[in-house]
Amino acid sequence: MNLSEEKKSLHIPAAVPTTNKKDFESDQDVRWCPGCGDYSILSQTQRILPELGIPKEQLVFISGIGCSSRFPYYMNTYGFHTIHGRAPAIAAGVKATNPELSVWVITGDGDALSIGGNHFLHMLRRNLDINVLLFNNRIYGLTKGQYSPTSEVGKVTTSSPFGSLDRPLNPVEIALSAGATFVARSLDRDTKHLQSIIKAAHEHKGTSFIEVYQNCNIYNNGAFFTYTEKATKADNTVVLEHGEQLVFGAKRDKGIRLNGFQPEVVYIDDTSDTDLIVHDQFADDPTLAYFLSRMTDVPEHPLPIGIFRSVQCPCYEDMLTDQVQRARQSNGDGNLEKLLNSGETWVV
């Protein structure tokens, strides 16, 4: 009797069969530009999924429109390539209907923060247990390279030949302001980090938001190379780890200290005392997270990557289910005959 037969005979429910990356690859040709950062994000997702142990029929990937939003076609799971900006609302409908599903929203900087900005805010405040990956390439890729809401001021593109005028939005900051319960940032080119963040997002109960810096090698090549490439990465990023001091640098010789409400970079050596900021991703108050989010694209400060915030808060769908159950308890299971005959009736 082999193990699985034994299990059956003992009536132990069969564990979810172990899966591998291939199981999550659909039969569709992947159609991004060669070299696009989207490939890596897809791969990291497919690589980490087997570890999460979710049966693939329980997985739903929902996207809007954009290069990034092609993602669901490449996943051998349920998928919905919806319309521009609306994936969060569709995902809310999916999750509210069936809270058992593992729901993932795939979006771009234009999809989530331009046309979809409002749904993005409201998704976060509702805190359904959904995981959101925002592929931020700071450009509209699919429509051939116009500036996006995360593009830097002065960006010269087809639609802004004299430079764009709109100040960029910071996705992490916006997410925090909407009350997001899990907010993180990772990089297309840091495969291990990205995998670990995806995993943490999945494990978080509530809406988990991940901003992924993604290279669009066609329309915005190298936008993040300072943060992703070997030569510059260590000195220009700081990896947030809960309970750890904010230390960074190729030689890990720099740290971040609080100066009033301002961050200050200080050099450290083994002997120096450590009034460095200690990261607390579980802090109830988001002020620290805000403070860290502001260290984005400030030349003197390293870019934080990792989990800014991760707090527990009831999920919309759980409260909804709870209301349904309580209503059933107090009013009894819905009886259609009774309902139709409620109110003032008379017989003829």
């Binding site: 919905f80 919806t82 909804l320 009736t345 003829v348």
Partner: protein, 638 residues
């Protein structure tokens, strides 16, 4: 000056009580039996016209009359007391025969203040009964209503039977032994007025007495007070010399069964719940508040014990998208709104067309364009429902014809959505939504079967393989083992549902989508023509004009005219037999509360030179104006 009127009548409630209880003996006044009556209560929002209107409605319905109502709320914002903008009206028509409209003009107008008089007088029949709250006819209120002179001094007394009543003072007097403040006492004056009307139409008070008891259970002092006011009004009417005649409206002949009053919005909510229950599905309703659709959200939100999930979303786009997500996940999904909100949903409805998901979209029409007149009724969204999306995106469209028809129509819409895997538009309008009438409650066992046919078999599963009869694609919901697949807004390959830019495939899919909707014509029962199957004139209508058209045609037929009435529930596809029916008539008139939308479709479809009869005033048709039009058309014809 009419002395009889301004003479102060001082009566104590004790006396009234005695009058009332011994009423049968004392009744010496004339009593007249009539076929029907129309009553209009009008006053400030705070005057409680809606409340007593509803009481009279229920009472009449329970007394066996057919009833039809027209509440008329003031424009959105609560206007200052006494102003024209703040007038709220409630019209009720009850009858010993089947009726279809709340009546054109009313037999009785109860005007709680000069503004109400100003707004509503034109809706009182010549020589009708006009009851006024004299206490509100001071200078200030007259001015607010825009009267330079006291209207009671003018022509009015020659044209109507005017009964000015010191409603406020009399109510205070009737309540003198309660320990309510004066202000609180005055709140009860609507029940005093209701008492008057109850006497006038010889209505039983039991229903209202019970209602008052349960309504004010938590404020017992108001139970007593309102009962005193009600009985006081009744007794006053009996006592005063002003009112000489009372009326009797006998029971109507109804089909046997249990009845309740239902507004269109309530019927719509119940119809959705019933469909979900019968199909054994969750009902998920995504919505964003908007007049006059909000009440459906409010109603549905109460039924969590039916597993109904209402999602109040951030806007109409999110609302329809949440519903699409729910449809994808296996719920009976619906979204509801009114015209401007419907305009916003167009793009997403297109997604539901492309992904072929079942979805019911409610559009409770109001007067447009743009914000228009939000509290007024209109039928101007038919073409929007048909064409308000990019690309060729065919959608079935159904319209409810009256409050009691909403249940069946939305139930049918849901059935079609599930059977054909398609979004369906359900049209109602402000008039139907807020109007109320008796509804013969269906037995659950009599409801048409609805089923949700989920795909479960992974063997040769193809997400866009169609059922040969209906043209539906399979409904494979997330969570089903082995049916993992991807859908989306890009054109799909036939059978596989993979993205396709192939020219022939696109053409094929476009025709398949169109054919699927066309197939629904097979669902439509034989079209019912009221009157003869052929003749001089066929009046075609749809939606909330049913009552006025049916009554007008019926009246005209009784007067010998060769006219029939056909009312469409299905606007897309049109019934298969419509073409042959039309051919049997000399002329076809299409009557709509718009500038001729169904008219365009019928002309294009059947190449028939229709007469377009349109009204676009934010108001329903009046029976008399329809009759006049029919006469005019038939005269020209001959």
């Amino acid at each position: 000056m009419n002395v009889c009127v301004k003479r102060k009548i001082s009566v104590s409630i004790k006396v009234f009580g005695a009058f009332y209880e011994e009423g049968k003996e004392l009744m010496k006044k004339q009593r007249q039996t009539i076929g029907d009556a129309t009553i209009l209560f009008a006053g400030d929002s705070g005057d409680g016209a809606q409340t007593v209107g509803a009481q009279l409605t229920h009472t009449s319905a329970i007394a066996g009359n057919d009833v039809s109502t027209l509440p008329d709320y003031p424009a959105e914002i609560r206007a200052p007391a006494g102003s024209l903008a703040g007038v709220s009206g409630f019209q009720l028509h009850f009858s010993s025969k089947e009726i279809h409209t709340p009546g054109d003009l009313s037999d009785v107008l109860v005007a709680f203040n000069p503004a109400a008089l100003k707004i509503s007088l034109s809706r009182l029949k010549p020589n009708g009964i006009l009851i006024l709250n004299l206490d509100n006819f001071g200078q200030r209120n007259l001015k607010l209503a825009g009267y330079n002179e006291d209207p009671l001094e003018g022509e009015i007394r020659n044209k109507y039977q005017v009964f000015p009543v010191e409603l406020t003072r009399l109510t205070r007097d009737a309540l003198v032994e309660t320990n309510l403040s004066n202000k609180e006492k005055e709140l009860c004056k609507n029940f005093f007025a209701l008492g008057l009307v109850f006497w006038l139409y010889n209505r039983p008070m039991d229903y209202t007495l019970k209602w008052i008891e349960s309504k004010f259970a938590s404020k017992p002092k108001f139970i007593e007070a309102n009962i005193l006011a009600l009985k006081g009004g009744y007794a006053y009417a009996e006592a005063t010399e002003q009112i000489a005649v009372s009326y009797e409206v006998e029971s109507a002949k109804f089909s046997r069964g249990t009845y309740r009053n239902v507004t269109g919005n309530l019927g719509t909510a119940l119809g959705l719940i019933a469909a979900a229950q019968q199909a054994d599905l969750q009902l998920v309703y995504g919505s964003y508040p908007i007049t006059p659709a909000s009440d459906i959200l409010h109603e549905l939100a109460r039924y969590k014990n039916f597993g109904v999930k209402t999602l109040q979303m951030e806007d109409e786009i999110a609302a329809v998208c949440a519903a699409i997500g729910a449809a994808f996940s296996g719920a009976l999904a619906a979204t509801g709104t009114s015209g401007p909100g419907f305009a916003l949903k167009g793009e997403a409805i297109g997604l539901a067309v492309m992904t072929e998901l079942p979805l019911v979209v409610l559009n409770i029409q109001r007067a447009g364009p743009s914000t228009g007149m939000p509290t007024k009724t209109e039928q101007t969204d038919l073409l929007q429902a048909l064409y308000g999306r990019n690309g060729e995106s065919p959608i079935p469209v159904l319209a409810a014809s009256r409050p009691s028809d909403c249940f069946d129509t939305v139930y049918e819409a849901a059935k079609i959505a599930l059977k054909y895997m398609t979004p369906v538009v359900f049209l109602s309008d402000g008039y139907v939504a807020n109007g109320a009438e008796p509804w013969l409650i269906p037995a659950v066992s009599d409801l048409p079967t609805i089923s949700a046919d989920f795909a479960t078999d992974p063997d040769r599963f193809l997400p866009y393989q169609r059922d040969p009869e209906t043209g539906r694609r399979p409904w494979a919901v997330p969570g089903t083992v082995g049916l993992e697949h991807r859908i989306g807004g890009l054109e799909k390959s036939d059978l596989t549902g993979d993205i396709s830019y192939d020219p022939e495939n696109h053409e094929k899919m476009s025709y398949l989508r169109a054919q699927k909707v066309a197939n629904i014509a097979n669902e439509i029962p034989r079209t019912d023509v009221f009157g003869s199957d052929s003749g001089d004139l066929l009046v075609i209508g749809w939606g909330g004009t049913y009552g006025a058209l049916r009554t007008a045609v019926s009246n005209q037929r009784n007067a010998g005219a060769s006219v029939s009435h056909l009312h469409l529930r299905f606007l897309n596809p049109l019934p298969n037999d419509l073409s042959s029916i039309i051919q049997n008539f000399e002329r076809v008139m299409i009557a709509e509360l718009n500038l001729g939308q169904l008219n365009k479709i019928v002309r294009s479809e059947y190449l028939v030179d229709t007469i377009a009869y349109n009204k676009i005033q934010g108001q329903p048709f009046q029976v008399t104006e329809v009759e006049t039009k029919i006469e005019e058309v038939l005269t020209v014809e001959n």
